[in-house]
Subunit: 203 residues, 2 copies
Amino acid sequence: MDSLNPAARSCVIDRTSRARQKQQRPCVVWFTGLSGAGKSTLSGLVDRRLFELGHHTYLLDGDHLRRGLNRDLGFTDADRAENIRRAAEVACLMADAGLIVLAAFISPFRAERRLVRELLPAGEFVEIFVDAPLAVAEQRDPKGLYRKARRGELKQFTGIDSPYEPPEAPDLRIPTDRLTEEQGRDAVLALLARRGIIRAPAP
Amino acid sequence: MDSLNPAARSCVIDRTSRARQKQQRPCVVWFTGLSGAGKSTLSGLVDRRLFELGHHTYLLDGDHLRRGLNRDLGFTDADRAENIRRAAEVACLMADAGLIVLAAFISPFRAERRLVRELLPAGEFVEIFVDAPLAVAEQRDPKGLYRKARRGELKQFTGIDSPYEPPEAPDLRIPTDRLTEEQGRDAVLALLARRGIIRAPAP
């Protein structure tokens, strides 16, 4: 084994070959929005349908990563930025592996979301704004986090005492207070089909 | 979208389904050894052959991760441990996505490699000791790092002024100074076939 890194690199399967094997165009579909806006539900439904259509996907979400890769991080501005940076790097690696990656993160800051977009080849970042008015998200409060934030038990909670910067030009906006779950899912699938990311037309 | 996280979770495709779609058993094949021992070459050749056999794989290596996910880390003991912790978490996510993950990291410490093993379900961690005597690795010196370390320009370099703890019971040991590249590759493939990880017998 005298040939080492340069030779090894030529053995490495490139991004295009991995994608071709899976008969799809890899990309990162990034769901941003308030806690309670419906990111997990929507990304989960899109994942399920893509899987049924034979696509190779993976779903990354904030809660999941915070139990593993990002478990050393808290909720300061610096830690939130690092949380998103690592999520973005992992999403890019998975897209490089040929997967369609669904990523559901509050990701409240425009600058961080821009960073994710810049990590990926052109056209491989799709930003979905999962949009619900704060009052609606707070009323749903599926994890009881807004109640805790209002009682002061959670600090720097997005929408309460930390800002959410809505996307200025998302690839798609899903108003979850006005669409059914299925309508939201189908709108995302239709977008992916229009962009040539999935081979089957949306149902 | 009134149903949120609990409902969303039930939409999530589980590990078994993702693996079944790819007709393989996901796992992490972890290549450990000195710089210059041949980890990149060997893992690259295994990756190429697995791909040719129709498997869905991904190759993670230290240099690659240090340009992205781990670019904030240096080479102190703490940073080295964090480098491996993150690599392990990413490898686990990719195995969860159904992939066979090839991971090539010097990973000099037993405790860290044990941590990787413990992150994965039983039988999904395969440790390959890529073994070359220090003198051989140093003579190859593909990246010129040993020369730098000997001149004192690189501190805490594994094998020079930082220890390498050989695996006590690796799943496989490949002595790269005594096997050809192809023999090394085929030995790894034969092991994966014996373990039922790949469907095709090794060639």
